[in-house]
């Protein structure tokens, strides 16, 4: 809200207080000052009123004149000044900057020679004095001022306007009086209310019931109080200059005295008011009712709006004339020829105004105030002020009683508080006397003061009706500390009694994943959670995509919750490739949302991508990543969640493979058991559609948030043999569709059985995979290395060979595998 300093001065004397100090006061009272705007002329030194006595053409320049100017005896009497303005005519009164003056922009005026002609000062334009953005020759002053008068006396006084943000708890400060009250309390000054000479008792005998006979409120819940007053015989014309200046200063365009006074009262008291042209209303009754479906109104902004229930309107016999609390109709508005008025001052329920405004997409200074809360108990005061100003500046007379429907509940609220309570909450001492005077300066009246035997005080304050936000002792703590000055809250040493718990397992997991992947040369990326729906088709089933949609997305490309982190990482890669930035490894940790049976689970996830195209050439080529690189990194992430990936059933991603390449990406885990992972090659077609060059390998791991476990169990030591190992290699020819895991499992089982308890099979691992020449069609060879060891002795060849032979015989017997010789 914009607040004019000149206007504030009507209620609180801030003479001698700088704009900076006021701005600071507003800030520390709890309202952010967004902007301070100064209007009018700044204070000038050595700039005076001058009277042009003579004007001659400059001998050496066509466009210049040489004038003699009377600048007053105190400033050297008559001076010769060279001037380029066309209007330096004899007899004009103009501003003269004397040598020594400093004009805005640090423009210093000196005695000078202009084209050989001495010039003792400068006559000024409005622009040079920063009164206007344009220069139209010299600024011509009112001729009545004597030469030598300081220029500020000849110029309109400026104003300072503070654009301040009023917090939602303080609707009382959406008014100049409210802000003045705060400043009066801060600067310890008196608050002066406007003088209102109108009272209901002063209403004369003439009652124009033909214009307004009665008011009917159909919906008292939404309109607790409605008042209307008839004023006849007004002259609509311009409002007084001072009022126009104040309204203009705070950004309102002056229209006419009636409209301006309405706005003035609203900005003074915070109470919205409205004036109708009484002759434009059908019938003599105003009805506060719900709009009927499809009813139309053309509002003051010229737009026709369709109304509907339960929007609240003020209507005459035929039509709505105001959307309650928001905007009046153009039809019933005051114009230049209006003579008789009905002044409305009413209270509307904030929720009702808000809902209507929201539905219509319509807001106004009035609705802004109603939505935040207008004090119904100050309504009469504002209404009287409205009438008073109309009578004073538009003339006319009150023609009938103030119609009043609805009763305001009497306001009564008291808070009992002790200085000890306030100081205990603050943790430092503010003197009791300061507390008391602070609260009183905010117009909280001390109702009772009790002193107990130990001298401690208990106060009961009554709360003014406009401070609905004050209800409990704790609310007074804030009032006191505000006026004390929050800058003065003392610093102290932090007291931290040992409350050491463990960080959330999710935090630990994310931290470890980040460390691990950073250690592997990945750049951490952060992408938006909200993704475009069409992108997700590559990563989730249509049913899941539907479930991930937001009810009210803001923009189309951020419409769905993400079910994967890979799509974001691909976008990251795309951006870097398109910018020609060399980068090929990214990862992200964050939350994803995974659908199962129509239900979503919020999951903790980590993902990475490795691009084949690194975006740069290096002088030596390094080996590129493949499926198994992705598997390794995925296994690392799984391990940090306590899952050993190599022991999990792993299968190729099902067809259709979504964003993953069929036959080159695998999945392990299932969200129904709490976690899932997918890794391998990203679909080449998908990459092509994204414009990404080169292959991209990726891995994704997600675990339902509550399944992330705390610290892993402490491992216990397993002894390991110190004797030499015996190695045997065995190549098996198997059908090509057989998985390595299956063969390894069968081999290990047979080998363990063959070894029995004589010694141990320490490890089985695949070391070669071959397919092609020398093997039957449709088969492949998997070569395994078997490591045998005994705990206490060196194994003999004989015993190992015996076992090895037995293993081969057993495999041939129970599996379809052949031994490759």
């Amino acid at each position: 809200m914009k607040v004019s300093l000149n206007w504030l001065q009507s209620y609180v004397d801030l003479t001698g207080v700088s704009a900076e100090d006021i701005s600071r006061a507003i800030t520390f009272l709890g309202f952010e000052v967004e902007q301070v705007i100064r209007t009018g002329a700044p204070a000038f030194n050595n700039v005076v009123v001058g009277h042009i006595l003579t004007r001659d053409k400059h001998p050496n320049a066509d466009k210049l004149s040489v004038c003699t100017v009377d600048v007053g005896a105190a400033h050297g009497g008559v001076r010769t000044i060279v001037c380029g303005a066309p209007n330096c005519d004899v007899g004009n009164s103009v501003p003269v900057a004397l040598p020594g003056a400093v004009l805005p922009g640090d423009f210093v005026i000196k005695e000078a020679k202009v084209r050989g002609q001495a010039s003792s000062g400068m006559m000024c334009s409005a622009k040079e004095l920063t009164l206007s953005h344009e220069a139209h020759g010299l600024l011509l002053l009112n001729g009545g001022l004597p030469a030598g008068t300081p220029i500020n006396a000849a110029l309109p006084t400026g104003d300072t306007v503070f654009d301040i943000e009023i917090t939602p708890n303080r609707p009382d400060c959406l008014s100049h009086l409210g802000v003045a009250r705060e400043l009066a309390a801060w600067f310890k000054k008196e608050l002066r209310y406007p003088e209102v000479s109108f009272t209901p008792a002063s209403i004369g005998a003439s009652h124009r019931t033909d214009l307004l006979k009665s008011i009917r409120v159909d919906n008292p819940t939404c309109c607790p109080l409605y008042t209307a007053t008839v004023i006849t015989g007004v002259n609509v014309g311009p409002s007084p200059e001072w009022m126009q200046q104040r309204l203009s200063a705070v950004g309102l365009r002056p229209i006419n005295n009636v409209v301006d006074i309405g706005n003035y009262v609203m900005l003074e008291y915070g109470q919205p008011v409205h004036a109708f042209d009484a002759h434009k209303l059908a019938g003599a009754e105003l009805i506060v009712r719900s709009a009927t479906e499809g009813e139309k109104i053309t509002t003051l902004d010229g737009k026709t709006r369709e109304l509907g229930s339960p929007m609240l309107v003020i209507a005459d016999a035929h039509k709505p004339v105001v959307i309650a609390g928001i905007m009046g109709s153009a039809d019933a508005g005051v114009t230049d020829v209006t003579t008789d008025l009905i002044l409305e001052v009413a209270s509307f329920k904030r929720q009702s105004v808000r809902a209507t405004g929201k539905r219509l997409g319509l807001g106004s200074d009035s609705s802004y105030r109603y939505e935040r809360g207008v004090d119904v108990h100050s309504l009469d005061e504002a209404a009287h002020r409205f009438i008073d100003l109309i009578l004073a500046h538009a003339g006319g007379q009150v023609a009938g009683p103030i119609h009043r429907v609805g009763g305001d509940q009497p306001w009564e609220r008291e808070i009992t508080v002790t200085p000890a309570f306030i100081n205990a909450k603050l943790g430092f001492e503010i003197p009791a006397e300061f507390i008391k005077t602070s609260l009183e300066s905010l117009e909280l009246a001390l109702v009772r003061e009790e002193q107990s035997e130990d001298d401690s005080l208990t106060w009961t304050f009554s709360v003014p009706s406009w401070r609905d936000d004050l209800d409990r002792p704790i609310d007074l703590v804030e009032e006191v500390v505000r006026l004390y000055g929050t800058e003065k809250i003392p610093s102290s040493v932090i007291t931290a009694p040992g409350l050491v718990g463990n960080d959330d397992p999710i935090v630990l997991f994310n931290r470890r994943v980040t460390d691990a992947l950073v250690g592997q040369g990945f750049n951490e990326a952060v992408n938006y959670t909200l993704r475009p729906g069409k992108e997700l088709a590559a990563w989730a089933t249509p049913a899941a995509v539907a479930d991930l949609a937001l009810a009210n997305p803001f923009v189309e490309d951020q419409s769905h919750l993400r079910p994967t982190l890979v799509s974001g990482l691909l976008e990251t890669l795309q951006l870097n490739q398109s910018r020609g930035v060399a980068a090929s490894q990214f990862f992200e940790t964050g939350r994803v949302f995974i659908e199962r049976n129509g239900q979503l689970s919020e999951c903790i996830a980590a993902a990475f991508i490795i691009a084949e195209d690194t975006g740069e050439r290096t002088w030596r080529t390094r080996e590129t990543a493949d499926f198994y690189t992705a598997k390794r990194h995925t296994a690392t992430i799984c391990a940090l969640a306590g899952i050993e990936l190599e022991r999990q059933p792993t299968s190729l991603v099902p067809v259709p493979a979504h964003g993953w390449q069929e036959g080159h990406a695998a999945t392990a885990g299932d969200i129904k058991h709490g976690w899932t992972s997918t890794f391998g090659l990203v679909s080449l077609a998908h990459l092509k559609s994204l414009g990404i060059t080169g292959k991209v390998y990726a891995g994704f791991f997600a675990i339902v948030s509550e399944k992330v476990s705390a610290e892993a169990e402490r491992r216990s030591y397993k002894p390991f043999g110190l004797q030499p190992a015996a190695l045997r290699d065995l190549a098996l020819v198997v059908p090509e569709a057989t998985s390595s895991a299956e063969v390894q499992k069968a081999l290990a089982k047979v080998a363990r059985a063959a070894v029995g308890t004589a010694f141990a099979l320490e490890a089985v691992h695949v070391f070669d995979v071959y397919q092609g020449k020398g093997l039957p069609e449709g088969t492949k060879s998997l070569a395994y290395s078997l490591v045998f060891r005994a705990a206490e002795r060196t194994l003999t060849d004989e015993e190992v060979n015996a076992v090895f032979t037995q293993i081969q015989a057993e495999l041939l017997k129970i599996t379809p595998y052949q031994i490759r010789k």
């Binding site: 303080r170 929050t486 050491v500 040369g521 750049n523 952060v526 949609a549 009810a551």
Partner: protein, 347 residues
């Protein structure tokens, strides 16, 4: 004999330096000192040497043996050194850059979050997490945000359809809607409901606002929030925390100041300004950094804590904003574009 031995040594001295490979060396060695070698053969003649000459001849043979061995050792050392040298290429150019990819990096938001949680950990705050999909109760109701508050508008808050079902985010009331949390304060409520005072937690996390994305706004961003609940917690304690945090982050002479403000769930409430001298690209004496206040008694009541017994404070701030101030970053969108040239600047 002496002549024979001398001739043998001379032959070895001329032949062995020409031997290049290990097999050739082994063959040569056999020719001299092997069972059928020439020295061996000469030594076998010792038997036919007259007894009185034996000491002299024996000495000669031993000297020859030593000399021969020296030639052999030298040859072997040379061959082995050559074999090792053969494993090497030419000397490297140490000024060439490594062709391996550049090291991994943590995102600046991670760096800032971790720095803040480390600072807070030292004074007893533990890090907690909460769901990003929340319900109206945890995000608004329990935080004293009335049903008609503008923040709850579908204009400002992302909602999920009423039909949305979540397996692991429980609703407090059956008819409330799921939404994307607008602040991490929802974690306060979850912690208060779950925990036992005293409580001292910090909850960093992602939050969502229905905002137009521009240089300072983003559809999702990150907050970090502290909550402390104990007996007799005061405004002064809150100030002490803020002073501690920013002195740890920016240096001992960093100052904070409070300005009164309004938040529904704290009373009194303050905005926190930071003395900006230590920040790059900030041309102001003070800069706003977050909001804080004393937990409103109504919040305590709502989660079943007696406000006469328990008191507390809360402080929250935006992590992007902090990172922008600390690093002098001027556009929030850079955090989400992940240009590697940006990411590599902070590691």
């Amino acid at each position: 004999m002496q002549d024979l031995l001398s001739a043998l040594i001379a032959k070895a001295a001329s032949e062995l330096p020409t031997v290049v490979t290990r097999p050739d060396f082994d063959a040569a060695k056999a020719r001299y000192v092997g069972p059928n070698g020439e020295l061996t053969a000469l030594m076998k003649q010792m038997g036919s040497v007259p007894k009185e000459q034996k000491p002299v001849v024996g000495k000669l043979v031993n000297e020859a043996k030593t000399a021969l061995q020296a030639h052999l050792d030298a040859a072997l050392a040379r061959i082995e050194a050559a074999a090792l040298a053969a494993q090497l290429g030419p000397a490297v150019d140490p000024t060439l850059p490594s062709p391996d990819r550049t090291p991994g990096t943590q995102h600046p938001l991670t760096l800032v979050r971790e720095e803040m949680t480390r600072i807070l950990r030292k004074v007893g705050f533990t890090v907690v997490e909460g769901p990003e999909v929340e319900t109206e109760y945890y995000c608004f109701d329990a935080l004293n945000t009335p049903a008609d508050h503008p923040a709850r508008d579908a204009q400002d808050t992302f909602y999920l359809p009423e039909s949305a079902r979540f397996g692991n985010v429980a609703k407090k009331n059956p008819d409330e809607k799921y939404l994307l949390r607008t602040h991490t304060s929802s974690v306060q409520i979850r912690t208060l409901l779950k925990g036992q005072p005293p409580i001292r937690i910090v909850s960093p996390g992602r939050v969502y606002r229905r905002d137009t994305t521009d240089a300072t706004h983003s559809a999702n961003f990150h907050q970090l929030e502290c909550l402390y609940v104990d007996k007799n917690v005061t405004v002064r304690d809150l100030k002490a925390l803020l002073d501690y945090i920013f002195a740890s982050l920016l240096g001992k002479d960093t100052k904070t100041r409070f300005r009164p403000h309004y938040f529904g769930y704290t009373e009194p409430s303050f905005e926190v300004d930071l003395s900006a001298r230590h920040l790059p690209k900030v041309n102001k004496e003070w800069i706003e950094i977050g909001g804080c206040g004393m937990v409103d008694p109504i919040v305590f009541k709502d989660v079943g804590y007696d406000p006469e017994v328990w008191s507390g404070y809360a402080f929250g701030m935006g992590l992007e904003r902090l990172a922008m101030l600390l690093y002098g970053i001027d556009d929030i969108r850079y955090f989400y574009q992940n240009d590697a040239r940006f990411l590599r600047q902070f590691a």
